[in-house]
Structures are given as structure tokens and as C-alpha cells.
Amino acid sequence: MIEPTIYEISSEGRKGVSYPNVDVPRTKLPKEFLRTELNLPEVAEVDVVRHYTRLSSMNYAIDNGFYPLGSCTMKYNPRINEKTAAMSGFQNSHPLQPDETVQGNLALMHMLQEMLAEIGGFAGVTLQPAAGAHGELTGVLIMNAYHKKNGDSQRVKVLIPDSAHGTNPATSAMSGLKPVEIPSDERGNIDLEALRAECDDTLAGLMLTNPNTLGLFDENVQAVIQTVHDAGGLVYGDGANMNALLGIARPGDLGIDILHYNLHKTFSTPHGGGGPGSGPVGVAEHLVNFLPGPIVEILEEGYDDIPPLYGLVTPKDSIGRMKSFHGHFGVMVRAFTYILIHGAEGLRDVSMNAVLNANYLMALVKDTYKVAYPRTCMHEFVVEGRWKDAPDVHALDIAKRLIDYGFHPPTNYFPLIVHEALMIEPTETENKETLDAFADALIKIAKEAHETPMLLHAAPSTTQFGRLDEVQAAKQLVLCCRLFPEVE
């Protein structure tokens, strides 16, 4: 059975929620602006609830099982976060209310700024960016503004390792800078020679992901950073992988100048099938004045029982505003809750368990799947999903076959520098039994790949849907419900 679209179950005259009647003297609508048609569905509340309940059951999510999607940190999302974010005092406050009526929100944001600064080793934090990529853009714009302020407007080159996430080059391009790719060496580190070669006085900076998308901590990280700094560049850190580093190492202590956090990864806020995220950015002392505004500051210190007075302030050399209002406040509440519950000790435990789980899983499968760079990994690792003696089998087939075994597939075909990459991030919230079962499945699939490859090519076969035709989708674009379709 296919689930009809909401338009297909629409029927004239139905509605799903009632509203009060107009109870004021009526004003005519301006004729010249009057709308005639409006093609929205007409359905009852029961139709809506059933439709979305059934749709939801067609999803696989963390709440259904293991979701080792590399680079995405699909850790369990504690339910207490949802409870606190839904508190009426938070949900019903307007972003333009007078500061004195939202001291609770401002206090929370201020504490979160300080906590993130402490966790990352930074002097200042903005909570405004909407997601990781938006944080990257913020960071690169800060980089740019810094050089301009120093009279270095020739600094337009941003170095990006070949293992970097696609948002890194896209971000640099978007901010008007010039991305230059730097290769990785045979141990998965940044190739120091190649890096040095690019470090001239047009260097704006380096976008560094560490641990990188191979799950590896760069063995020369200090040299890399020093090299960039020596050339007058800044180092931007992509903090998508902070789940390896909480209480383990502070990017700021390593010399990283700017870093974005993904609250929707490291700090357990749910992904929601795509978002919302939240990508706060931390910066070192010399960049604090460039942060986008507004940020929260203490306007008057508290004393005795009197709490401080918080207010919204725009830094002196601010790059400006990155979006409306103050950022994804609802996401901040969740992340703040998570940090409160963990404390310093709990956060370090998070990273220790995340790294332990990844190394354990790698140990279980390393004899069956070629580990791209075989050394101790951090919170994730990358294997090749191919064998010489099973030439027809691709990483995609393995990914789809895992679905038949009840697991969400890992990230595939990323990072680009590994052939047929399978990027596996178990996170700390999974237990040993789950890791064992997943490794078992991977090993069985390897066997199937050699003995009964059709099983992989036909996968998934246990789901409501078989493989979908992406080529047709892109060729015969259908991006909206056909409005008078024949329902099967």
C-alpha cells in the first residue's frame, strides 16, 4: 500500500481545526489585493493524525535503532531536552520583548556562551548561527573581517584539506574567498609539505577538521597550526567532530582561532529529519570583537540575592547579523540542559565512550573490511566497502543490505578520498551488544558479498520500499503533488 498524499485524501468542506468567529465590526478586504483561489488540502484532524502517524512509521530514526551515520553523531536524544525546550516561559516569549522581561532567556544564553567557551577553550562565543554550515560562514566572515581590519585584504586564500566536508569549500566560495585544496598524507594527516607550499601572504586561513572526517586526530596538528599562524593566516576549526574532544582537548588550547559547534550533533539535540541545527561559533581573544551581534552580556553584575542584569550587545567590529533575532533558542535550551546534566566529568565520559565504541567496532570489523587508515581512531572510522574478489559489490550495496539487518547504514561515499567509503560513527550512547550485532551483520554481509551478491544488489528487500530510482527523479522532475492524480 502506498500512503496517499494529503492532497489525495482532501475532500471539499472538511477542516481539521476550529477557530473563533470574527467578533469585531468587519472591515472590507482591499479589493485590489483579494485572492481568489487557494489550493490547500481540506481534511479532518483524524486524517492529519493518521497520515502523519503512518508517514512517521515509514522512517528509521535513532528511536528505532542503531544509526551509525558517520560525521552526523547520531547519539540518543534525551527526552528531558524536549521537556525543557517546551516550557511555556521559553516557548511563548517573543524575541523583541524588552530585555527586562526575558532575563531567564538571557541568563540561559549567557551561561551557554560561557560553557561553550570553556569547553572549546575560547574567549567569546556567538549563539546566532543556525547550523554548522552557517557557523562556518560566520567563521570565515570573521576571518575575512580580521584581515581587512589589519589592512590585509589580499588575504583571500582558504586552504581546505581534501578530506573536508562539502560545506567547507562551499562556505569559502560563498564568502568570496578562494578555496584551495590540500592533500592528505598516507597516515591521513594534512600533507605538511603541501600546506607549507601554500602558506604565502595571500593566505587567509585554513579550515581544519580535527579529528578529521577519517576519524583521525592529526598527528601534526601543532605544526599545521603553527605553519598557518606563521604565515599570518587564521585556523578555522570545523567542530562537527567535537564529540571526540569534550574534556579531552580544547581546540582553543591547540591554537585554533575559530570553531563552530554543532549543538545538534555533539550536544544531543535532535536532527528532526534535517534540522533545525544550531552552530554557535567560538573565537580566540583577538577575534572577539568581530563576532556577529547581538550576543548576551552582563550589563550590571549581581550581588547577594540580586541576579545580574543581562542584555543584548553587538561587538565593536562585528561582522553584522547572520540571521533574524538571536539564533535557534529552542535548540540552545536543549543543549544547555544536556551540558547541565553532564558537567565536566560527564562530558569527558561522553567522548571517552564515543572513542572507545568506535575503536571497539573498528577492531571487530578490521579483518573483514579494509580500514582506510589503520590506526587508533577517534569517534568514527572509515572502511572501504569493496573487495577485489567481489568486483560487483559496492559500498552502496553494503549500506542497503544493512537495512535488511535492521540497521541504518553508515555514511557512504564520503570522505571522497577513500574508495567506496563507509564512514561509521557509533556514538557513546550505544551498548556493546548493539556494536557486536552490527559487526556481526557487517561480517555476514561480507560473506554474502562473495557468495550471494544478489542479496546485496536486491537490498533492501525487507522494507516497504525497494531502491528508489534517483535518475528518474532528477530527469522527470516532479517536485509537487500532482493535483488530480489517480490513486493506485
Binding site: 468542506g13 481539521g16 481545526v17 477557530y19 472591515t27 478586504l29 482591499p30 483579494l34 487557494l38 497520515h51 502523519y52 508517514l55 512509521s57 515509514m58 528509521y60 530514526a61 547520531m74 547519539k75 540518543y76 534525551p78 517546551a86 516557548q91 511563548n92 524575541p95 520583548q97 532575563q103 531567564g104 570553556e118 560562514l137 562539502g166 560545506t167 562551499a170 569559502s172 566560495a173 568570496g176 582537548a249 588550547d253 536532527h271 528532526g272 529529519g273 534535517g274 533545525p276 553584522g320 547579523r321 533574524s324 533575532f325 529552542g330 547541565l340 558537567g343 565536566a344 569527558r348 565512550n353 572513542v355 575503536n359 571487530l364 556493546k432 520500499f465 530510482d469 528518474q472 517536485l479
Partner: protein, 447 residues
Amino acid sequence: MVYSPNSAKDREAMLKTIGVSSVEELFDVIPEEVRFPDLDLPLPLSEMEAAEGLANLAKGNVTNEQMNMFLGAGAYHHYVPAAIPALISRGEFLTAYTPYQPEVSQGTLQSIFEYQTMICALTGMDVSNASHYDGATSVAEAVNMAQTITKKKKKRIVLSPGLNPQYVETVFTYAEGSDLEFVGYDLPVTTGVKELMDLIDDNTALVMVQYPDFYGRLVDYEALGESVHAVKGLLGVAVNPLALAIFRPPSEFGADIVCGEGQPLGIPLSYGGPYLGILATKEKHVRALAGRLVGETVDKNGKRGYVLTLSTREQHIRRERAASNICSNQGVMALSAAIYLSLLGKNGLKHVANLNYQKAHYAQTEITKIDGYKVWGDAPFFNEFVIECPESASIINEKLLTYGIIGGYDLGRVDEDMSDLMMFAVTEMNSVAQIDDLVAVLKEVAK
């Protein structure tokens, strides 16, 4: 170890398999000087203590539950039907990632597909993306899109002075590294369409307007659209989607890109976010569209299904040549909007929009009956309008606060010259009694 399930015994066994003797050993690669810092954070709390602490912070705010509120200016207090939180909180929606694996993500994919359809229906566009961050960033992306569509050959962007000032600021931040020329935004807010038309030249890539504009006004942009099309530029319109239930869609003015803030569609105020960026365009510009896009297709058995499509526009495929760097978007908010539009449907949405319209007009009429409060401008409006006050809006707001009212938006925050202008938003949440009370208090404080 609150959410990390493995016990000490489990960890012991795992270390043995790995072949190391302690978890610490796994971090040997990290320079010793920075390894294992002591973080200065509050001591860990249990769930119940955290819940209590957060409840106390939440109580540190005054909200529209305690005070009557007439604040809008880009974020509006609307009723969120009970079915929305009940459905969006289902774990299968809430805890899924972006639907990269379509066979196990049809729920997310179909719901986005339906969202896209409804946004097209509202705006009159042919294609909508799966969502963008918010209103301001959707406007900034529209500027980028216009660049792509006009092949980066045209450098002038006309920004209407009726645009939300935060949108303009965001556009400027985004454009910092670009060679674009922005005009129009600094004209007086009373500038008419004619004057904007005068700014259009051959080099103009985009004219960006807002509908209703930041000051609540409904303006007919048809002539403007014709002008910019005449020079092969584009018309971008930032909308309030709720207003579109009863007012002509921007497609009728010739809009090429429709963007805007989707928060009015069932998304709580939440102190400013997360909200919903709307971004839609005509079919011919689909390849310039930023963000994810869901398309219909079939599975290998010919069964109708959905996938992410045209990914070649996106960063993970196209890297530095991508249409935008956006990756995570506003999934839950798009889902909320889709559920909201489904629940209200054609008639419900019209009804709510009309309720807003009627109540706002009643409020405007009553307020301007008071000595000293005057209508500002004569454009038709939706649910928000500007009043010239007998004294500065900020002082009036302070007084209103002592009466338990959070007043309108003080336009002095935009421009000192407008400090006696207050902009009131009136929605279905403001009862007649609330409005009458506001009027009485405004009268009182004007004395």
C-alpha cells in the same frame, strides 16, 4: 555516564578486544600539554534537578501567557493546534537525520514533498525547497540565487526600504566578500514603488521587496516586476505566508523568487527560533535554488516514492561550486508548517488570516479614536500597523508594561527619526477584551 550505557565490565571487555589497557591510551595521539583539561563547568545535575533549574529560568521570563502582547515585527503570536506538537514529537520524525537513505526515510521525504506543494500553492511559485534557516537568511539566499541566475553579470541589487531591517543587515553580512552594489534600502521608509523603479538599471540583478512589508503595508508590485523584468532582472518578494491566504500571491506581481519567514505557520515564538525560511522559485530557476529538494519517483517495483533530488546543486556533491553551503535545514519546522496547513486547510487558513485582518483593523480604528494617536500612512495592511504616538514609543511601552501590557514595536529601534512611531501586531490571540484594554491604557498613559 548518564546516557552512555556501557558498564565498567563492558568497557573492560572492549578494551581487551581493541588491545589497549585503558581508554586514556586511545588518546595518546593528543599533545600531552593540552590533553585532558579540567573544564570549569557546574557540577552535573540529575534529570529532576535540571528540570527544576530550567523551570526556574523559564519563570524568569514574562510571556504572552501573563501579559497581553502586541509585538510582531517579524515574529507573531499565533495559536498552535494541539495536533502539531503531538505529531512532530514522534521519535520517528524527531530523531531521524536528513533522508539520505530513501528506503527508510519515506516519512520525512513525503512530508517534505507535501510541504513543497503547499508552499507552491501559497506563493504561486513552481518549486519550493525543503526549507531554509529563516526569513532573513532566505532573503540573503535570494540575493545569491539572483547572482547565479543572472550569471554573476549584474551587480546591482535594489533593496526596498520596506524590508525588515534585520533582513537587510543579514544580506549585507552575507555579501561582505562580494562586489554587489546595494541601493534603495536607505531611502525613506515612505518611498513609493515609483522611486524604486527609478533605481532599476541594466545592471540590476534583483529587486527585493516585502509583502506585507515590514511596516505592515500591502503594496502592489506589479509595475516594479515589469520594470525589472524589462532589464532581465528578477523580482524577489519576502512574504508573510499567512497573509497569502487572503491576499494575491506574489506570482501575480511577477515574482521570480519568493522567500520569507514561515514562523506564522504553527511555529512557536521560542524567543526567536528555530523558525522557518521559505524559499521558492519558478521551475526554470530550479537549478539555482539553494537547499534540499524532494522529488517524486518510483522504487524498483514501480511503486511511487520520494527521494532527495538535484543534489548536484548542493555542497556535498558540488563543493565550492554549490548553489549554497546549506546542509542542515529546518526539517521539524517545515513539518510543523505542513501539518498546520493541512489542519487549517483552505478555509481554515483564510479564516484565520481574516480574523487577523479584522482584529487588527478594529484595533487600529479604536486606537486612532484616541486623542494624540494618529494613523501613519494610508496603505492597506494585514495584521500589523503603525501609529504615530503623542510621545516617544519607548516611553509609552514602559508605561504599558506597568499595566501588564507588552506594547507594539518601537520603530525608534530602527531609526531615531521614527521614535514616536509604534507598530502594533494584532493576531487571533488578541481578544477584543485585550484590544479594548490596550486602547483604554493607551488613552490613560497619553494624558
